[in-house]
């Protein structure tokens, strides 16, 4: 399982892992052009905008999380090596979180500046993202497994993933960290089982 995490981590970091992060910053940069440079208004809508940017950025890598390994027989070979599908899903969640979340947390600093956050708002935003990103990574892997091999999987993944993130979004933007953490824990714990069931179903 450790070898799989390292492999996926290497593939993520040498691939296009910067693309979702660039997209995240770009969305944040566009908002002042859309609503104007009013710092008070940006401060009010900023936390929500930051999360919408994070959620949409989380969609971008979905098609490379499971499908390439399914199509290439890697998932079958891992199963033959005795690795449970749940363990495969856990490894992919950890690797995806490591390639996505730290960069997102760093990118949130310039994004917050573009949205006229003060120091306190930045700390709150970083805390909410730190709590929520494990759930985003877990959901991305689960949805990637469910949509693997389907035509137009990327579009379908958005329709499946975004509604599931609504509780996370509500509690994160409201700075209700304990409730956000509870939802994040629930999603992170449940996602490997959903992903594993989807991987198994794809073999039949």
């Amino acid at each position: 399982m450790g070898a799989l995490i390292l492999r996926d981590l290497r593939r993520g970091l040498t691939g296009n892992s910067w693309l979702p992060i660039a997209f995240f910053v770009l969305v944040a940069a566009l908002i002042p052009f859309a609503v104007g440079p009013d710092a008070a208004l940006l401060g009010r809508v900023g936390p929500g905008v930051l999360w919408i940017a994070a959620l949409t950025a989380a969609l971008l890598p979905i098609e490379r999380l499971i499908e390439p390994d399914r199509a290439d027989g890697v998932l079958d070979q891992l199963a033959l090596h005795g690795l449970a599908d749940e363990s495969i899903a856990c490894a992919k969640i950890v690797a995806h979180w490591l390639t996505f979340a730290p960069l997102l947390l760093i990118a949130a600093i310039p994004a917050s500046a573009l949205l006229a956050f003060d120091g306190q708002a930045l700390v709150k935003a970083e805390l909410a993202l730190a709590i929520g990103t494990p759930a985003l990574a877990a959901l991305a892997v689960a949805v990637a497994a469910v949509t693997a091999g389907l035509p137009r999987a990327g579009s379908l993944a958005g329709l499946v993933l975004l509604p599931l993130t609504v509780p996370l979004l509500i509690f994160a933007v409201a700075n209700a960290y304990l409730l956000e953490a509870a939802v994040s824990l629930l999603l992170t714990a449940g996602a490997p089982f959903v992903a594993a069931a989807a991987i198994r179903a794809a073999r039949t």
Binding site: D72, G73, V74, D76, Q77, A79, L80, R203, T204
Partner: protein, 183 residues
């Protein structure tokens, strides 16, 4: 269990179609079996059933530790052949030599030809040390020299008490039992 692979009254249905039923099969040490039949007769499905990647509708399948080579590469294309094989097996040097891949170990997998990639997947099976080899169309993309190398490796494996189940519509070199599937 003395046999490396045993099917007892196995039935398999895929996509609503019954591929085979009541199939009994036993593959002991030193035995090789070729599964033949026309396209769609269930050769690859039988291999995946033997691997445990498919579940039978009825019956029981027992197996020892196994390794599978099918038409899927399952090797990281962006790294060298040595590193890609190293993800799956601790030491692949003997297998790499067996298939004449020594000069290619520092070449990224994506730059290998289809025949070289096929040899690499077969090398992964050989290096696994598993007593049961499952080979799905092992001759695809292989030239005559590679076929001879594969035949030699299989004979060595059988002589050491291993077993091989291969699905192929072509004749395989050496002595094989045969199982013909009909659609």
């Amino acid at each position: 269990m003395s046999a490396h692979l045993r099917f007892e009254q196995v039935s398999l249905r895929r996509g609503g179609r019954l591929l085979f039923e009541g199939l009994d099969l036993s593959l002991g040490p030193g035995e090789a079996l070729r599964v033949s039949g026309p396209n769609g007769s269930g050769k690859s499905s039988l291999i995946r059933l033997a691997a445990g990647l498919l579940q039978p509708e009825q019956g029981n399948v027992e197996r020892t530790r196994l390794a599978l080579a099918d038409d899927q590469l399952a090797l990281d294309r962006e790294v060298t052949l040595a590193r890609a094989l190293g993800f799956w097996v601790s030491s692949a040097m003997h297998a790499i030599e067996d298939f004449g891949l020594t000069e290619l170990i520092q070449v990224p997998v994506r730059l290998l030809s289809s025949g070289q990639q096929k040899r690499a997947t077969l090398a992964r099976v050989v290096a696994s040390g598993a007593p049961l080899w499952l080979l799905d169309e092992p001759l695809n993309a292989l030239d005559s020299d590679s076929m001879a190398r594969l035949a030699g490796v299989i004979q060595k494996h059988l002589a050491h008490g291993g077993a091989v189940l291969a699905a192929s519509h072509q004749s395989l070199p050496g002595t094989w039992g045969t199982l013909e599937l009909r659609p």
